[in-house]
Amino acid sequence: MKNLLQLIVRFHFTILFLIIELVCFLLIVNNNNYHKTIFLNSNNALSGGIYNKVTSFSDYIRLTEINDQLSKENTQLHNLLSENYKLTADSFFFFEDSLFKQQYVYRSAKVINNSINKQRNYITLNKGRKHGIKPEMGVIANNGVVGIVKSVSDNYSTVLSLLNSRLKISAKIKKNNHHGSLYWDGKDYRRAKLIEIPSHVNINVGDTITTSSFSSVFPEGILIGTADKILPSSGGNFREIIVLLSNDFNQLAYVDVIGDLLKNERLELEKEVEK
C-alpha cells in the first residue's frame, strides 16, 4: 500500500495526464457525433473480430462432438440406402437346371403385427395370396424359425407363431441328427421345449437345434435355437430339453416365407402309402 502510494506520488504527473486525457476522450466521444460513430464502429469491429476468434476456437474445441454427430448421421444415411432394404416386391426367379432342381422359394415380407404375451400368438405379414403366399408355408427370419402361415387373404397373411402352443414342429439335434418335436409351453417367450428325445442321446447344454427333414414346411437345417437346460423325464425313456430360441420374437421386423415347390408331390406320395 505504501509502495503504491509512493508510486502514485512519484508518477502523479503522468497519471494525472492520463486521467485527464481519458476524460477528454470521453468528452469527445460523447459530445461529437462524428467521433461517436467512428468510436462505436471501431468498437464493433474490434468486438466482432474478438467474437470471430472466440467462435473459431470454440468450434475447434467442439470438433469431437461434431465428428460424433456426423458419424451418427452418416450411419443413419447409410441405413437409408436402398441396398440395405429387402425388396418388398417379389423378385425371385425360377432357375432351370437339369442337375439341381430348385425346391424352395423365399419371399420376403414385413411383420405388421405380432404378439408374444399370449398363449396363442399370431403374426400378421403384409403379403398375401397375391404375392404367392399359401397356407402351410414356413416362415423364418434371419435368426431362425418363426412359424407357419395359417391363413391368407389377398394382401395379408397370418402366421402361427412358434410362440403358439398349438404349433409343433419337427426338430433335431444338429450334431447327431436325433429327432424330436418342438413346442412352446407358454411360459417364457425366449424358450421352447424339445421333447421325445431318447434318454440315451448324448446332448449338452449349448448344442444347436435345427429343423429336421421330416417337416414338409421347413427345409432341413434351419436354426431354431440352442439347448439351454436338459431335464430328465419323469420315469420315461425320453428327455425334455429346454431350447433357447435364437429368434427374439419381440423384435421381428422382416421375415422370409418359404415356399416348397415339391411339397405337393411329397404329400401325395406319402398319402398313397397311407391308403
Partner: protein, 167 residues
C-alpha cells in the same frame, strides 16, 4: 500575486482573441491558427505540474465550448502541458531556469523561445488535428494541415512576443 492576475487576464484575452478572430481564419481549409496555446507557453516555470495539466485542460475546454468541439482542444492542450516540463528540460539553458520569471522571448533569447514554441505547438497541433479526423486515412492531408497551421500559429505567437516586448 501579480503573475496570477496577469495569467488570468491573459487567459481571458487569449480566449476572446481565439474565438472572435482566429477561429474565423480558415484559409483553404488547411490553415487554422490556434494562438491561444500561448497561454500554456507563458505559464511560469514554477507552476506545479498538476496545476499545469489542470490549467491546460480548462484552457482547451474553454475553446471547445466556444467552437463546439468538446474535448478536442482540451485533450490537445493537456498533451501539450504534459510535454512542457520535458521540453523545458530538453532545451534548458546553461543555468537553471530562474524562478518567478515567465519565459518570454526576451528572457532567454529568440532562438530558445522559437525552439520551445515550435516543439510544443507542433505537438499540440499534431494531437489536435489527428484527434479531429480521428483516423489515419488521408494522413497526408492531416500532415499538411498540421505543418501549415503550425507555421501560422508559430508566426502569431512569436509576433505577439515581439509586440509585447517592445511595449
Amino acid at each position: 500575486m501579480n503573475f496570477i492576475v496577469k495569467n488570468i487576464i491573459r487567459f481571458i484575452i487569449l480566449i476572446l482573441l481565439q474565438v472572435t478572430i482566429f477561429n474565423n481564419i480558415q484559409l483553404s481549409g488547411f490553415i487554422n491558427p490556434y494562438m491561444y496555446v500561448l497561454f500554456i507557453l507563458l505559464l511560469p516555470f514554477e507552476t506545479p505540474p498538476w496545476l499545469l495539466l489542470v490549467l491546460s485542460f480548462f484552457m482547451g475546454l474553454s475553446i471547445d465550448v466556444f467552437s463546439n468541439t468538446i474535448g478536442m482542444h482540451a485533450s490537445a492542450c493537456v498533451f501539450m502541458g504534459f510535454l512542457r516540463p520535458y521540453v523545458l528540460n530538453y532545451i534548458s539553458v546553461r543555468d537553471n531556469y530562474e524562478s518567478d520569471i515567465e519565459q518570454g522571448l526576451y528572457v532567454y533569447g529568440f532562438s530558445w523561445f522559437f525552439k520551445y514554441a515550435l516543439i510544443l505547438i507542433l505537438a499540440h497541433h499534431s494531437f489536435l488535428f489527428i484527434v479531429e479526423v480521428f483516423s489515419f486515412n488521408n494522413f497526408g492531408d492531416t500532415l499538411l494541415r498540421i505543418i501549415l497551421s503550425t507555421i501560422f500559429s508559430l508566426t502569431l505567437v512569436v509576433a505577439s512576443q515581439f509586440i509585447i516586448s517592445k511595449k
